[in-house]
Subunit: 504 residues, 2 copies
């Protein structure tokens, strides 16, 4: 019996290792496509992606896989690694297997068409052009929810794909709490008399110098260049190909260095997660971040709690000045700090500041929830979008390109993804509270540019586990509580009252 388990377990782990190998090849190809692969080769490369993805898909729903899952996922003699791997495979198996093959094929074609139509529609700011595709995507996803089943709320099934354990019930509560605190703060800031000056941020800062400074900051964060590299792309990202090869890309705007610097810190936070996953998880589907939200918590922790912190710039502001040609020569650190923390309601999510960002996410959350509970129709989206922007942010899009068409997610059928962005903020704020107990000298570490203990803490508590722990399990183990919006609300309140010099 014991012997049988051992043999089967080894066979199973070899099986998933092969799947992981195909996925690693796909990751290299994906990175390559985004960092200068010649355009004439792309069609053929797509074929290669198709072949490798189909292979992974077939292996994920094979009878062999069904047998492994059946025998290993609940076998208490099996190792924890094998069991959790089998459970992860089971999730994928059920998601993939429950959709009839022809419907799935149709859906994949629809996705790819919708994405290219969306791009055109966005360029023309023409929602009507995109509408029929979005309607089909919503309709198909509803049918899929029928196949998959749901508990409590239909939208929960979608949330579960990105943030297992987080439900509409939870989100309604925490988003409500957060909104109640942010919305009045945003208004107070809009009315404040003492706004930061920002003109000095937008001087010419050569790309090569920005690159060198970004590398310096990545190194300070603990990013290992023997296990990664920094490249340039239009849309920055981080990718974990394996824990020894986690790459970061960034974008350089010579008239606004913040794009590269805060972008690199953000992606660097994602990268630290992937670089520090336990090597024993390599070759299994557990060798990645546990959820979108926890991943985002790591990037946002570094971007906001480290990178937009006053202490962090005490030393690094001098370093920044070494890389610039007098741009900040006559700017006090205090003014610089206020400038990089400017908050202003805006229309575009990806350009939003730390304070207003969660409101952008909530708009999308409420719309998605409404769509999948038959309370909102696709045709009404532009109007609803604009109303919500006015209500939460006090701004109204002039057209749909600046409004409902701005994000790519829906065109790819990624419903349920957006909440992770705001969850990441909350997780990060909760982690910060917990970290302070172990590292009460947090501010001093930042001042000294000694970020190693911070990375080590996050590695021990979050990174190393990969997908061996569920997101809420990590949150609970680290903080002793569940999702709680208060920490983020308190942090934002304190920080922005200070930055905008508001009376209490």
């Amino acid at each position: 019996m014991q012997m049988e388990t051992v043999t089967l377990e080894k066979e199973f782990l070899d099986y998933v290792k092969k799947m992981s190998a195909y996925e690693e090849a796909l990751s290299v190809i994906y990175w390559d496509l985004r960092t200068g692969a010649p355009k004439n080769g792309v069609d053929q490369r797509s074929q290669v992606i198709g072949v490798l993805s189909s292979e992974v898909f077939s292996m994920s729903v094979s009878e062999q896989m069904a047998e492994y899952i059946d025998k290993i996922a609940e076998d208490r003699h099996a190792s924890e690694l094998a069991r959790k791997t089998a459970m992860e495979c089971k999730k994928v198996y059920e998601r993939n297997k429950k959709i009839p093959a022809d419907e799935y094929r149709e859906y994949v074609i629809l996705q790819s068409k919708a994405e290219s139509i969306w791009e055109e529609a966005k360029n023309k700011s023409d929602f009507e052009m995109f509408r029929p595709y979005l309607e089909k995507l919503v309709q198909t996803t509803k049918r899929f929810i029928g196949y998959w089943g749901y508990s409590g709320n239909k939208y929960n099934t979608l949330l579960d794909m990105y943030e297992p354990g987080v439900t509409v019930e939870v989100l309604d509560k925490v988003f409500g709490q957060l909104r109640k605190q942010i919305v009045p703060l945003v208004k107070q800031i809009a009315d404040s008399a003492d706004k930061p000056k920002t003109d000095f941020l937008f001087k010419h800062f050569p790309k090569e110098k920005q690159r060198a400074f970004s590398e310096e900051i990545l190194r300070q964060m603990g990013y290992n260049f023997d296990a990664g590299r920094l490249d340039e792309t239009v849309h920055p990202f981080a990718i974990g190909i394996n824990p020894g090869d986690v790459r970061v890309t960034t974008k350089y705007d010579e008239k606004d260095f913040r794009t590269a610097v805060f972008g690199t810190i953000h992606e660097g936070g994602h990268a630290l997660y992937e670089q520090n996953i336990s090597p024993r998880l390599v070759g299994t589907p557990l060798c990645t971040g546990t959820s979108m939200g926890i991943h985002e918590s790591q990037s946002l922790f570094y971007e906001n709690f480290v990178g937009r912190n006053y202490s962090f710039w005490k030393k690094n502001y001098l370093l920044l000045q070494e890389y610039t040609d007098g741009q900040f020569a006559h700017v006090e650190l205090e003014d610089y700090y206020r400038a990089i923390n400017e908050s202003k309601p805006s229309l575009i999510r990806i350009e939003a500041d730390e304070l207003t960002y969660p409101l952008h996410v909530m708009v999308r959350y409420e719309i998605e929830k409404g769509l999948f509970n038959d309370e909102i129709e696709v045709e009404d989206l532009p109007g609803i979008w604009n109303e919500k922007y006015e209500q939460y942010l006090g701004v109204i899009p002039e057209n749909d390109a600046q409004g409902v068409l701005q994000d790519v997610h829906w065109s790819g059928g990624s419903f349920g993804y957006f909440p992770s962005y705001a969850l990441g903020y909350m997780y990060a704020a909760q982690f910060k509270q917990a970290m302070l107990k172990d590292l009460p000298n947090f501010e001093l570490l930042l001042e000294e540019g000694n970020l190693k203990p911070i990375q080590e803490w996050l590695t021990a508590k979050v990174h190393v586990h990969g997908k061996m722990k569920m997101p809420l399990e990590i949150l609970n183990d680290v903080t002793g509580e569940g999702l709680n919006a208060d920490h983020l609300a308190q942090y934002l309140n304190e920080k922005y009252r200070e930055v905008y010099r508001l009376s209490n």
Copy 2:
């Protein structure tokens, strides 16, 4: 019957398309590893390479493959593409299938060990350290020849892997003819009174400028940057990932621009071949150069017949001067031309000039031929190597690192590869002769920097066919004759008598 063929043919072509997809993924990974993949990820990447390669190997020797080969290779109802693909698969099938699996596994391990030992042995210039591994490699390869069989000469079986159709009989003849002409010429040059000055070549030439000039020349050659890119590596190479994605790498020596410029032209010649293979061959094993020798003929054609030609520099020397900072301001074109064609017997093959290069290859050819016909023992190699260098080139290595240990090929078991380098020269000279009939204005085209007609000629005659034609088939179709050393001998004689101003 007809219908059956069509169905089976489609199935077969889908089967090889899948194999090609894996190979394309491997090519992307290979390129990535050589252009800055982080070192900590390499071990895991090797596993991925292992998985993908094994898959390709299994597919190449499967029963399914045997059936396809059996039914299609000789079926006159099948399309030419399917038949030739099946014949190519048959070659690989027989090569792979005849070796017992456990012996092949052992051999792969031996190869990888031998390569790392060779590297150390070369660094220490210690042949004795490498000897036992080389002995085992030779011994194993002899046993494999036993499995594969041979006709005429045992070494023919090895030659056939790189240059199908070329035998010891052919090589003995053409190499003999060539040697008879080159050796006395090399001596005359050594004794010549009017040697070119070269000191002006070695001024500081910044990397970025070299890169820009190299790109300019690649563009002039007809290299399509929408189907390729130029990167930097320690060991330059060209790689055809698919015809729409053929990449070139080069190396920049700021004290000797020739490394980058002639290296780029050389690799660019390889790249033009791969960029211009017929799109209908994509997804089959025929979508690559037909042999090592024909491939080398393309790189050498551009490097020598174009790049080291006086006419080519008439305009490009002015261009070069725009990229340099006065380096050539007081150097006449004539003197520059003579300098880049300096010929001097040397010890290291990859640093050899156009005239002496074939002699380096012949030394290796004779040694390999002796080894596999039991006329030479591995333990005697250093002595034999040094004798032959003295005899052919008049130079004697001071140590084995400069001698018998200099090349990586043998450590990887690549016996039979070296002759292709010299064959490439001969093919190129023969192509040049044939080209002159269609393009009698060859020199004028070079003068005008109008290289397009030259590329188009080579594309129509060579590139487009991929592996649809065998090397000697191409040679015969293009030139109307078989392998002939006279054209190369005549070219070298005329050129070097002129460069060294020798009396006739």
